[in-house]
């Protein structure tokens, strides 16, 4: 009793999730890059592209429901489909964080940056790398790797705290920087939240592979 149709559908759906993840990671890095170079045009393009990420999420949701309705999946197959619904939602929200950073760059107007951005791009690199690893683990049904990935969230948190302290110092020294420092803090917060959501994806991978619902850090 092979399940050719079901297996093809599951493979395709996983592929779409990976594609959505790639779009989200690209959007995040591009949003930070645009902020770093104060490239408002690039930020506008990133904001517009978020619609594609959202549309893909709903396309994945629709296709998943069709598979559930027509293929009657059970056990691992069913857990995988439940996880796909969840992860597509997580990725959409991560896309919103990237869009948020793009919007910040637009809101900051034509003022130059308080200082060159170093820690924020570093944070975004780690967060997107975690995302990429999490999606590979998801794709490989690899619970062990999924358990290890959230540990890197500590690096992201440490960088966030550093940025926070630095921006606070700016604000205390010169209240005129409050607006821009707040915007940057907001951007850093969005990156920090992205890494948090990677943890949720890892939890879904463990659930898919083992049936176990865990809360990772």
């Amino acid at each position: 009793m092979p399940r050719t149709v079901l297996e093809t559908e599951l493979r395709n759906l996983k592929g779409e999730v990976l594609k959505q993840g790639q779009m989200v990671g690209d959007a995040m890095l591009a949003a930070i890059e645009a902020l770093k170079h104060r490239d408002v045009e690039a930020s506008r393009r990133i904001m517009a592209a978020d619609r594609d990420i959202n549309a893909l999420r709903f396309e994945i949701e629709r296709a998943t429901l069709i598979v559930i309705a027509t293929q009657q999946p059970l056990a691992h197959d069913l857990r995988l489909l439940a996880s796909i619904l969840d992860i597509a939602g997580e990725l959409e929200r991560m896309g919103d964080y990237a869009k948020g950073i793009a919007k910040i760059n637009i809101l900051m107007g034509d003022k130059p940056l308080l200082k060159p951005l170093i820690d924020l791009p570093r944070m975004a690199e780690i967060a997107t790398d975690m995302l990429r690893q999490a999606l590979v683990a998801f794709s490989n049904d690899d619970a062990e790797t999924a358990r290890a990935i959230p540990g890197r969230d500590d690096e992201v948190d440490a960088l966030y705290n550093q940025i926070y302290r630095e921006l606070m110092t700016f604000m205390i020294q010169d209240p005129k920087t409050i607006d821009q420092a707040n915007y940057l803090l907001w951007a850093a917060h969005n990156v920090e939240r992205t890494a948090d959501r990677v943890t949720n994806i890892c939890e879904r991978t463990i659930f898919t592979a083992t049936g176990e619902i865990v809360e990772l850090a």
């Binding site: 009793m1 092979p2 399940r3 079901l6 009657q72 999946p73 059970l74 056990a75 691992h76 197959d77 069913l78 857990r79 083992t210 049936g211």
Partner: protein, 273 residues
């Protein structure tokens, strides 16, 4: 701490907190020289639905028929092990087989009403036991047909032939006939496999209501049906010696979402063999 969720998970709740109605202990059934099932241990919980699933030839029906000694009727069939009903081995010497089959009733795959009126079909068993009083029989017939969700459709035509009913109604008539014997356990051998989808859902709905008063064991080829209606699931498979054995038993919600055995996973997800 577990958060309190305002969602019902009835099957999970039903899969706990019930006493043992029957218990299969190290049961093997041999037909002449070939073993049909071997070394099966299986609990049957009171007021719960137990589904027995597995591929063709794995001994599901043999196991089911062992629960009310129906295999006794097959020449050359030999039973080893025990089947306890309320703690008593139904295979112990001196057990009254007729009484066991009354307490553990059976509904078959194809509806098999007797060629007589609806009323006489249901009254057949009680009459066999010596009941003659019309008012008592009337009461039993009505209650049994009500329990089988058939009363409203047939109450004005109790004299018509049971064979004239639709397939789904015939099966409910057979269930009413079983209920009329006041059983404690009802065994069902693929009770909906000859029915259309609507009649199937009606029977499934009926099974859910019957478990309030009876313990139900159902053999089904339809895994979605097992998932829909049962509280517990037992998965049987055929071993290399062609004898059926128990691969996995557990709450249905677990067996269908996260089975313990790879073989169960392969079977329920359709990747078997």
């Amino acid at each position: 701490m577990q958060p309190h969720l305002n969602i019902t998970e009835p099957s999970r709740a039903a899969a706990t907190a019930s006493s043992l109605k029957m218990e299969v202990r190290h049961l093997s059934v041999t037909y002449k020289t070939s073993r049909a099932v071997k070394a099966i241990d299986l609990p049957v919980y009171e007021n719960r639905v137990l589904a027995i699933i597995g591929p063709s030839g794995c001994g599901k029906s043999t196991l089911l028929r062992a629960l009310n000694r129906m295999n006794d009727l097959i020449p050359g069939a030999r039973v080893e092990g025990e089947v306890l009903l309320d703690g008593e081995n139904i295979y112990a010497p001196g057990q009254d087989v007729v009484d066991i089959r009354r307490r553990v009733g059976m509904v078959f795959q194809r509806p098999n009403p007797f060629p007589m009126s609806v009323y006489d079909n249901v009254a057949f068993g009680p009459r066999l036991l010596g009941l003659r009083k019309k008012s008592v029989l009337d009461e039993i017939v009505e209650q049994s047909l009500r329990s089988a969700a058939l009363w409203e459709q047939v109450k004005d035509h109790l004299g018509q032939s049971g064979m004239a009913l639709s397939g789904g109604q015939q099966q409910r008539l057979c269930i009413a006939r079983t209920i009329a014997m006041e059983p404690e356990v009802i065994l069902m051998d693929e009770p909906t496999s000859a029915l259309d989808p609507m009649a199937t859902l009606t029977i499934e709905d009926l099974i859910q209501r019957l478990k309030e008063n009876y313990t139900i064991v159902i053999v089904t080829h339809n895994m979605q049906q097992a998932a829909r209606i049962s509280d517990f699931t037992a998965f049987l498979n055929m071993d290399s010696d062609r004898a059926g054995y128990l691969v996995e038993f557990g709450p249905t919600v677990d067996v269908f979402t996260n089975p313990k055995e790879k073989l169960t996973e392969d079977y329920i997800t359709g990747r078997f063999g």
